[in-house]
Symmetry: C2
Subunit: 193 residues, 2 copies
């Protein structure tokens, strides 16, 4: 998505450890119009998939997931992160390891908001190692519901998450694909028309 | 806001400890159309205040804050919660005590996203004891920026947050005001036309 790529070029900062900092418009300060456009574009790409619910993980996924759900006319659920979980009878849960923060979070979705005929679109701000998406896929598997794909704002395609998901047969749509952050420079994969 | 009050009556659940559970449309599963309407209504109420940025605290405040910022045509910032903070040179920080979770979180906003002539609208999903709003006001004070008011989705007016803020001269606009959760029943204050 041209608008997004231009904004990453203009305002993204590369930090040591392959970190792309986009907190001026995506995950601290948020540009609502950009989020609306991202949501509309993800909705356009999945419009024929019969999506019944959008899932994401708090916190940075909420803005793009909300706008995607609005454009698709379906509810959004954000999975909660916990350091530990005790009472889990009413919850589907999975573990998500964060490489950047080096902690394992448990994520959960309340069982009563999952229907057996749900068709889930997973949305997140970043796809790098794929841990958050895999955690949500694990929950979908426990719940026996179909995942129609993953809609991502920024994919770091030099990290294995996107490749592994596609190899496993998951449809992954990313609005910007960063192929390298080498030498402090952001390079993108060619965008298909 | 009639639509919101009706939804609370229909889907809200009262739990022990004066907890109003609205996770079917506000803070776990989220109704995007309702959020859009809440954002438009808060934007309408503050349209003459010259708002330059909407602030909230992750995670449940993000959806209504994003929609309010979209309707006002300004950026949104969600303050980050941390258990502890070490490096804080680039951050404004404040402490927020959560009565429901019984923990103190530190919240932070990056200094580079705050301008001296900012006029801030604080948005949150709930106002009960007012800790989150007070934490954001503390950050605004440190930064020397003006807070034009607080826009709240659900105020529990039997708890002291709203009263204390108004007494301190803060304009508080709440889309639904719950005056009691006694006997497991949700009662609302009369809505002004």
């Amino acid at each position: 998505m041209r608008e997004l790529v231009d904004l990453i070029k203009k305002s993204g900062k590369v930090l040591p450890g392959n970190v792309l900092k986009v907190d001026s418009f995506l995950n601290h300060q948020v540009n609502p119009v950009l989020m609306q456009h991202c949501g509309e574009e993800l909705a356009r790409r999945f419009k024929d998939s019969g999506v019944t619910r959008v899932w994401t993980v708090e916190s940075s996924g909420i803005a793009p997931a909300l706008m995607t759900a609005l454009a698709l006319g379906v509810p959004m659920i954000f999975a909660r992160k916990h350091k530990s979980l005790t009472l889990t009878d009413d919850l589907y849960t999975a573990d998500v390891y964060s490489y950047t923060k080096r902690v394992t979070n448990h994520i959960s979705i309340a069982k009563r908001f999952v229907q057996s005929d749900d068709k889930i679109l997973l949305v997140d701000d970043f796809l790098a190692n794929g841990q958050a998406v895999s955690g949500m896929m694990e929950i979908a598997k426990q719940a026996g519901v179909q995942v129609v794909g993953a809609g991502i704002v920024i994919e770091k395609s030099f990290q294995p998450g996107g490749h592994n998901l596609r190899k496993a047969g998951v449809r992954v749509e990313s609005l910007a694909k960063v192929k390298s952050l080498a030498d402090g420079k952001v390079s993108f994969e060619e965008e298909k028309a």
